[in-house]
Subunit: 207 residues, 2 copies
């Protein structure tokens, strides 16, 4: 038996979980779903996550957890990827919520529209893309400022805050973001990549 | 000395924190800022939160925490509003991330546009409002399904998951959402309101 991870292989949200599972050397069954073919809207999948989104982690005993950053929290308990002090824990969560609210909705959507699904050609999406570039660059600027003075997001230690923010930042170029404008972010991306047992977003195998 | 809460009084995100502070009977200094007047974009505020968003909690010793749900986590440690078991904790976080990703961006934005700032009259915003109503109703439907079988979001116990989701759900009508379509959600709103030391979003006083 092993935990099961339901995921869309190009998803940064799913990649976060795969990256932490690799660091922790936890074996898992990988179940890729194609969101473009509606595979997360089937009755079977909705029974697992009524919100219809990947990633979803299914434990050996059938318990199910959704939301990538909640899955990171669960997996990171009692590991070096989650700090021991409660204020540092709260700071990690601050960055996880920043990621899901200010970063991912802009950076991941731009990447999805431009390089995965393709732009739909509508004026609405073109205007929304502009908004997403503006808001995504604001998020990258907040990260740049923070990383100018520290190697990792919280307590100078690589944690799930770094894992969560790495996932979509390292592929932001595919969404039209110019990462060379953020040198401290680029140096941090390199530090993340040099962590032991790092895997790439393309490193997956259905199981 | 007391903790300080920087907030915009109409913000549901700030209200979450005020509601938990009331439950916990923690005294605090309330510092209202007008986001419509750019008061979260000043140098002074950006020094506290470079992301330029309220709420921000400032502790007695000057440490600062941003992101409403991270502040809830910090305040709820070792209280009945945060469960003891790590899987239940992860489920609470699952709902907090659902709130910030699938719920708040849709329900809060519609309320802000319609009842706080007023619609800007652009075709872009009109189309985005439609998207937000569709996505916000999908989030409410997920909540309705979950609450049909339980009194609160996790472990049949009132927790910060309920506090976070209550904040914008109870004022969703101001964003054009029809809450009478969600009877289990309405019954849950009533259960939240009947908790000891409940305060309303309009209950605040600058200090």
């Amino acid at each position: 038996m092993a935990v099961k991870l339901y995921d869309y292989p190009k998803s940064g949200n799913g990649y976060k979980v795969r990256l932490l599972l690799a660091h922790l050397a936890i074996p898992y069954r990988y179940l890729p779903l194609d969101i473009l073919q509606g595979e997360t809207r089937t009755q079977e999948f909705l029974a697992r996550n009524p919100n219809g989104k990947i990633p979803v982690l299914e434990l050996d005993d059938g318990r199910i957890l959704a939301e990538s950053n909640a899955i990171l929290y669960w997996l990171a308990q009692n590991t070096p990827y989650w700090p021991a002090a409660s204020f540092a824990q709260s700071q990690v969560l601050q960055w996880l919520f920043f990621e899901q609210y200010s970063h991912e909705p802009n950076i991941a959507a731009a990447r999805f529209w431009i390089s995965i699904r393709g732009l739909d050609g509508s004026a609405l999406e073109a205007q929304q893309l502009e908004q997403k570039h503006r808001a995504g660059n604001a998020a990258l600027a907040v990260m740049e400022q923070h990383l100018q003075e520290r190697p990792f997001f919280v307590d100078d230690t690589y944690s799930i805050a770094d894992i969560a923010l790495y996932a979509y930042t390292h592929v932001a170029g595919a969404g039209g973001f110019e990462l060379h404008r953020y040198p401290a972010v680029q140096a941090w991306l390199e530090r993340v990549r040099s962590q032991p047992e790092h895997v790439r977003i393309t490193d997956w195998q259905a199981g």
